[in-house]
């Protein structure tokens, strides 16, 4: 039992341990790595993925999944980009992007709750639909944004880059909802045991409906933040972002089986960790073809840890039929 407990504690703080290890390794290999400029750089680069992953965490907590976030990012910036080109104001375009996120999230939640289709299948469908819709909208051409957009990405308020500010606001809002509101606690309850939640009088369907909308809106925000950094809407914009978002959440200790995980420190740490690894590889001039290999190794490790933890918890929680005397 004691050994198991020790392992459990280690598993609980794996992300933090991994984070420390990564900083130590890269820090000792390159002096540039630990400079404040580079740290800000890492945060800026990870903000888009982190925002999407925060939305994803809400969904994962209910034991669901949202594969459509990459496509939502694409459609959101495609719509916003078109509007900016047509001459609409930046603010209005941003609102339109958020609306796209809301509508897609709502579509997902209606299909999942009302028609009782599995989240995996529903969001796989909206993944293809969104990608196709966006390609049709942009006529599969890349759109280069006017300078106003990229300037927004480079601008600072009180010395902090705007992407980081948006990231921090989403983080604060998400963390507040999860920890300080009845909705947040009920999300955990539903993820822990939907049947018990129903019996306890929680409106399970409403909760499921809300999390996919939150995920969609976060994807739209994350998409726009990415747009201010890249300055262009390409046909592959947001492609496979769903995987980095899920990976970030899982790496941060969110369970794919629901009910377990946090936005802060969990998911945020996961998102920043993935970015940190990539940043470190860049600084060390590692062959770029190796990046995906290293990232995938990190993700595999994270999923392995999640499964081990769940199995162990299940084993500890199994109800004994008889209580053995202690010798």
């Amino acid at each position: 039992m004691t050994l198991q407990k020790l392992i459990l504690v280690a598993l609980r703080y794996t992300t933090l341990l991994l984070f420390g290890a990564v900083f130590l390794v890269f820090g000792s290999l390159s002096s540039k790595f630990l400079e404040p400029v580079n740290v800000v750089n890492i945060l800026t680069q990870s903000s888009s993925t982190a925002i999407v992953a925060i939305g994803m965490t809400f969904v994962l907590l209910t034991a669901g999944v949202d594969l459509s976030v990459g496509s939502i990012m694409f459609v959101a910036v495609a719509v916003a980009g078109k509007m900016i080109f047509t001459g609409y104001s930046l603010g209005l375009s941003i609102c339109a992007a958020l609306c796209v996120g809301f509508v897609f999230g709502r579509l997902n939640s209606i299909l999942i709750v009302r028609f009782r289709i599995m989240p995996f299948i529903v969001t796989l469908g909206t993944l293809y639909f969104g990608r196709g819709f966006g390609l049709w909208l942009t006529e599969t051409r890349a759109m280069n944004m006017p300078d106003a957009v990229t300037q927004l990405g480079a601008a600072r308020i009180a010395g902090i880059p705007i992407p980081i500010l948006i990231f921090l606001s989403v983080l604060a809002a998400g963390h507040f909802v999860l920890t300080q509101t009845p909705l947040g606690r009920q999300i955990y309850a539903v993820g822990n045991d939907p049947e018990a939640a129903r019996k306890a009088g929680i409106r399970v369907n409403r909760i499921l409906g809300v999390v996919y909308v939150l995920s969609g809106v976060c994807a739209a925000i994350g998409g726009f933040v990415a747009l201010t950094q890249t300055g262009a809407v390409s046909p592959t914009f947001g492609n496979q972002k769903e995987f980095s978002a899920i990976a970030a959440a899982v790496l941060g200790g969110t369970s794919l089986f629901g009910g377990r995980g946090t936005i802060f420190p969990g998911t945020v740490l996961g998102a920043v960790l993935i970015q940190t690894v990539e940043n470190g590889l860049v600084i060390l001039n590692v062959d770029p073809y190796l990046y995906p290999l290293v990232t995938s190794a990190v993700i595999f490790l994270a999923v392995l840890i999640d499964t081990t933890r769940t199995n162990l918890l299940e084993k500890l929680g199994r109800r004994p039929i008889r209580v053995e005397p202690v010798r």
């Binding site: 507040f176 606690r185 009920q186 822990n192 929680i202 109800r319 039929i321």
Partner: protein, 521 residues
């Protein structure tokens, strides 16, 4: 019966599932501030009745009145609002949340006008509720780190937070230590003094006798006994619970157990599950295992079939020791296992009858080299087999199993195993959810298997069924074999006594030591 007013009245409540009547004209009252004991065998209809009270099912006929007013909850929220609280055997707590969060999960006090939890109020109110139930643990402790008894107290605190007027306990002591049980009983008396009424469901008759003012006995969905506790006895209750004369016919046994041992189990133990299990199952023998739910019956079956591990002891199949049996090995050596849960574990519901039947023994129908299936030979066997298990004539083999009745589904499961020509059968609840006619056919089939030489182990909650079918019955309790009864000595009361016997006292000593073990927290 007494002077205090009636808070709850059941008036001829009826309920059927899939055409089977599970509640027949159930009528009784609950008086304010008293506790009523609800007893009966597994499947007597207790849970259904309580689910109606809790708004999970609606009755087909009859009424429930609460303080004279009609009471018809449409969902659990309605029941909670009316002041009915449940303490389920399987506790409905969210282990990933704290005690306080569990108590207020649907009724969080908020900061004025904001969707924000008033953490301080939550903590204070939780603290006071925990004081009322006598649990001195920080309300911000996560439920996963609590013991079963502590979790139960949290459930009761939750019921109190909802101003419950009626609390239903379903088998509340089954996972409690003796100390926790005593504390629970004290709490229950305190709550009754406050005017809260209780319905107490339990197999631990001594607990029921100790706690309740009145006792209602259910059997086959009917109230067969209602009396003041002072006017009855445990023996009377047991005979009421099982008292039905055998109205189902059991087919005549033709064979006798042979001398050859098919399956031998020696001192089998797995900590926390079973202890010191030993028996012999002979060819042509039908051996029954009786016991309450959670007595370790099904877990034993899973161990024997290699689905779960065992720590010490031996399992011998035809004299061959299997130190680490696996399902694959067991199937190859001629063992068959019907799970208690045929819908989820025994059948692929969407697949056809033929596909389900062929599932286990497909390799036997592969062509030389094993690359493809000889469909001609397979379909010939399947046709013969459907006759052997007397599958309904109206079914086509290409039809989805889902569309069959419970009885016919069970025949498909049996057929699936028969195709592999097994010689040891482990049947867990083989007739659960099957109507009487189909039951008889399943019994005949089992009899035929035995007289053709197979060894059969039947696990069943229905004592009658075991008495009607078996050569010998093992009674399990608390993971151990409590009694072994041979056919001439078969006696319902003896079986039930073995299964129920004083769970209270046997529990005491080992558990108390376990409580002091720091690791157990």
């Amino acid at each position: 019966m007494s002077s205090s007013p009636r808070i709850l009245e059941f008036d001829s409540v009826e309920k059927s599932f899939f055409g089977v009547k599970v509640l027949k004209a159930v009528t009784f009252d609950l008086r304010t501030g008293t506790a009523i004991g609800l007893v009966g065998e597994n499947g007597a209809g207790k849970s259904t009745l309580m689910n109606i009270l809790g708004g999970i099912h609606t009755p087909d006929a009859g009424y429930i009145r609460m303080e004279g007013e009609p009471y018809a909850p449409r969902n659990p929220q309605d029941a909670a609002r009316a002041g009915v609280a449940f303490i389920h055997q399987e506790l409905n707590l969210f282990s990933n949340l704290t005690i306080a969060e569990n108590i207020f999960i649907t009724t969080f006090p908020r900061v004025a006008g904001l969707p924000m939890i008033a953490r301080k109020t939550v903590r204070e109110r939780a603290r006071s509720l925990l004081d009322q139930v006598g649990l001195s643990v920080n309300p911000n402790t996560r439920v996963e780190s609590l013991s079963a008894g502590e979790r139960q107290l949290v459930e009761i605190a939750k019921a109190l937070s909802l101003d419950a007027r009626i609390i239903i306990f379903d088998e509340p002591t089954s996972s409690l230590t003796a100390l926790e049980t005593d504390r629970l009983f004290e709490l229950i008396s305190t709550l009754r003094a406050r005017g809260i009424s209780m319905i107490y469901i339990s197999h631990a008759l001594s607990d029921v006798m100790k706690l309740c003012d009145d006792i209602v006995v259910l059997r086959d969905g009917e109230v067969v006994g209602k009396s003041r506790t002072a006017e009855t006895s445990t023996a009377k209750l047991i005979s009421l619970m099982v008292g039905r004369s055998i109205d189902q016919l059991y087919p005549e046994r033709t064979g006798r157990p042979a001398a050859e041992r098919a399956l031998s189990v020696r001192n089998l133990s797995q900590p926390g599950i079973v202890r010191n299990i030993a028996f012999d199952l002979h060819d042509q023998e039908i051996l029954g295992i009786s016991g309450l739910m959670g007595s370790g019956r099904s877990e034993l079956a899973r161990i024997l079939f290699g689905l779960d591990p065992f720590e010490t002891g031996e399992v011998l199949l035809w004299g061959e020791n299997l130190p680490k049996p696996s399902p694959r090995q067991c199937v190859r050596m001629g063992m068959a296992f019907l799970t208690e849960n045929r819908r989820e574990e025994g059948l692929c519901m969407e697949a056809s009858i033929a596909e389900n039947m062929a599932l286990v023994s497909l390799p036997n129908f592969a062509n030389r080299g094993g690359y493809w299936i000889d469909h001609g030979r397979l379909s010939k066997s399947l046709t013969a087999l459907r006759g052997a298990v007397r599958l309904t004539r109206s079914a086509r083999l290409s039809q989805a199993v889902r569309t069959l009745s419970g009885g016919n589904q069970q025949k498909v499961v049996l057929a699936k195993w028969l195709l592999n020509r097994p010689r040891v059968f482990i049947l867990d609840e083989p007739t659960r959810g099957i109507d009487v006619g189909a039951k008889y056919e399943v019994y005949s089939l089992i009899n035929k298997l035995a007289s053709d030489g197979a060894a059969v182990l039947i696990i069943s909650s229905e004592i009658e069924e075991l008495i009607g079918m078996c050569d010998q019955i093992l009674v399990m309790r608390n993971g151990e074999i409590a009694d072994t009864i041979r056919r001439p000595d078969f006696d319902r009361e003896r079986i039930l006594r073995g299964a129920l016997k004083q769970s209270h006292t046997t529990r005491t000593s080992p558990v108390e030591t376990a409580r002091h073990d720091p690791e157990s927290r």
